[in-house]
């Protein structure tokens, strides 16, 4: 699927519009901001892709096609917005913790019931 998406991007350059933007990710326990170009699908079928620059080799990242929405643990903005990015990442981590707590509770409930019925 990924290869197909990349092929579509490569074969139909007119289908995608590009804008300069900033990509925010978490790398080595710290927030990282990288400038680059975001490529968006005009037909809204494929997600966004962020091309990081400047770098020795061209590296790219799958991102959401909307500004300020986290996807693939990355978020992008047209303008540099450090605090907004930090807030989004804080929310994301809090959501992850909440989800994991819920999952752990489920497993612990199963364990408790198994142990109780074993006694």
């Amino acid at each position: 699927m990924h290869a197909l998406k990349m092929k579509t991007r490569y074969l139909n350059p007119a289908r995608f519009e590009e804008h300069p933007a900033f990509l925010y990710t978490i790398y080595q326990n710290a927030l990282r901001c990288q400038p680059g170009i975001v490529s968006l699908d005009k037909e809204k079928e494929l997600g966004g892709r962020f091309y990081i620059e400047p770098s020795v080799k061209v590296s790219s990242f799958n991102v959401d096609d909307q500004e300020g929405v986290m996807w693939n643990r990355a978020v992008w903005f047209y303008e540099k917005s450090d605090e907004k990015a930090r807030e989004i990442f804080v929310k994301y981590e809090q959501e992850c913790i909440r989800e994991l707590e819920h999952k752990i509770k489920g497993h612990e409930d199963i364990l408790r019931s198994l142990n109780l019925k074993g006694e």
């Binding site: 927030l31 990282r32 930090r86 804080v90 497993h107 198994l114 019925k117």
Partner: protein, 130 residues
């Protein structure tokens, strides 16, 4: 520290002690957990694709007449199910408890990492220098 029960190295070593299903099919007991209790079903097991096996119920009373995908290895929890060649409720219960404990530990480790990330995000204002 990673969980030794779930690590790939350990799983490879474990395979020596498990019975692996071959070409032939045979009758087994399938165990699962439903509403916090152990559930046992009797049926036939045969080899399936992608390193798994499929279980077909003998009891036709139940509405579910589907094939269930289970592990090819005996006493390995997969898809929330495990099978044993002989009826042994206590062993099944022990294996499920072991599996659930391992899952809990794994999730707790993940949660700890997210907590550390959250603390870092809330306390330090430093940025990664690319």
């Amino acid at each position: 520290m990673s969980n030794p029960y779930l690590s790939k190295k350990r799983l490879k070593n474990d395979e020596k002690y498990h019975f692996r299903i071959g070409k032939e099919s045979f009758d087994v007991y399938l165990y699962s957990i439903r509403t916090g209790a152990l559930e046992k079903r009797f049926g036939n097991l045969s080899k399936s694709a992608r390193g798994h096996a499929q279980f077909v119920f003998f009891n036709q009373d139940s509405l579910c007449n589907d094939r269930i995908i289970v592990s090819q290895l005996e006493s390995r929890v997969f898809n929330g199910l495990l099978w044993l060649r002989e009826e042994n409720d206590n062993e099944a219960k022990r294996l499920f408890i072991q599996h659930e404990n391992a899952k809990c530990e794994e999730l707790k480790e993940k949660m700890e990492k997210h907590r550390q990330n959250l603390i870092l995000l809330q306390t330090t204002k430093e940025w990664h220098k690319a």
